[in-house]
Symmetry: none
Subunit: 218 residues, 2 copies
């Protein structure tokens, strides 16, 4: 699961980006100023940082070098016409930049591109006898398309991106349902059963007693 930090002081833009990234299957945090951004960077591991150059308090370049020191790839988000900033940003080591206003499709393409470059994500995932296309949201097993529902697909993605990992129900719920887990619900279990059955993963998704489930590759 890829985690992206958005550092952007304009709330509407931050929200727009966040919504779209979440839809595309990423996990997102937002920081509204440089200080908050630096805090979040130090507290969590992120796979990518979208960074607005013009920020209150700490400016973008300082944050850039901080992120780089943590080996987090950075994509600059610049306002239109600030060509000098683009150049400066690239010199300073940003991995990409995008100019506001931008097409959401372009943003997604660039995000994917960066993550792919840093070997974090792929459009196609081949695992066991499954071929997963994360862009078309299709899964094939031995060439035959599986009819997975929205949640089943997200659940499968979580498993294949975290193989051999004991995933807590809480973790699963929060990733797939994107809302806090209130405990005491069989929802996750039921979806796991359905996924197991549809994808023929009875042997590969195993229950971990009192924890949740684990995806086995063997």
């Amino acid at each position: 699961m890829n985690k992206i930090l958005i550092i952007e002081d304009e709330e509407s833009i931050a929200t727009l980006i966040k919504m779209n990234l979440i839809k595309a299957g990423y996990q997102c945090d937002v920081a509204y100023d440089g200080a908050e951004g630096a805090d979040k960077l130090s507290e969590n591991h992120y796979d990518l940082c979208l960074l607005d150059i013009m920020l209150p308090e700490i400016n973008g370049y300082e944050l850039l070098s901080y992120a780089k020191s943590l080996e987090v790839p950075v994509m600059f988000v610049t306002a239109k016409g600030e060509t000098q900033d683009k150049v400066k940003g690239l010199k300073a080591g940003a991995d990409d930049y995008i100019t506001k206003p931008f097409e959401i499709l372009e943003l997604l393409a660039r995000v994917e591109n960066i993550l792919r470059r840093f070997h974090k994500t792929e459009q196609y995932i081949k695992i066991l006898d499954l071929d997963i296309d994360t862009v078309s949201r299709e899964v094939r097993k031995n060439g035959k398309v599986l009819k997975l529902t929205y949640k089943e697909f997200d659940l499968l993605l979580l498993f294949v991106r975290n193989p051999e990992t004991a995933l807590y129900r809480e973790t699963i719920y929060e990733h797939v349902w994107d809302s806090p887990y209130l405990g005491d619900s069989r929802t996750v279990d039921l979806h796991v059963q359905r996924l197991r059955k549809k994808a023929g993963l009875e042997k590969n998704i195993e229950a971990v007693y009192k924890v949740g489930y684990r995806f086995r590759l063997r």
Copy 2:
């Protein structure tokens, strides 16, 4: 089929790039110096030009402006450490750059990215049994002109430019209506129905439950 011109004097590198691009499904020409490059650019239409900066005879920047005048996207190929060149290249209008030595996967990703970005300005698109002229905004199906409305045309364009992709309603709305999607509106759906009917794409535009729609080529 996308056609790519590689202008590169080092034969081993040119061959390596060519081989990989062909394998990835592109059609390739190679020019070994600037003069040959300029000739080929004038003789054929290319969708992308990969351009080495350090060339005998004509240097990369002159070729860049020539390619730009023909509206051919250009990606600079620079040797490592030539940071100044990167900056200069971007300023001069290159659409992307890549540093030697590079990962083939990265090259392919970047090529794809550029083509995706520029595909949007292609005048003629032939797909399935449709002929689309993006300038006159006319669509023919088996030679017969379809009477599409403004929004229907934009919607069709979005689909044909993103085939086999699960497009979210948000994405569709923001692209075609060019304003933020506020959720909970059947507008996109309705336009999809109309487009399906008028263009006879009932089989090709399929609903992706809880997501939006997907354009199928098969």
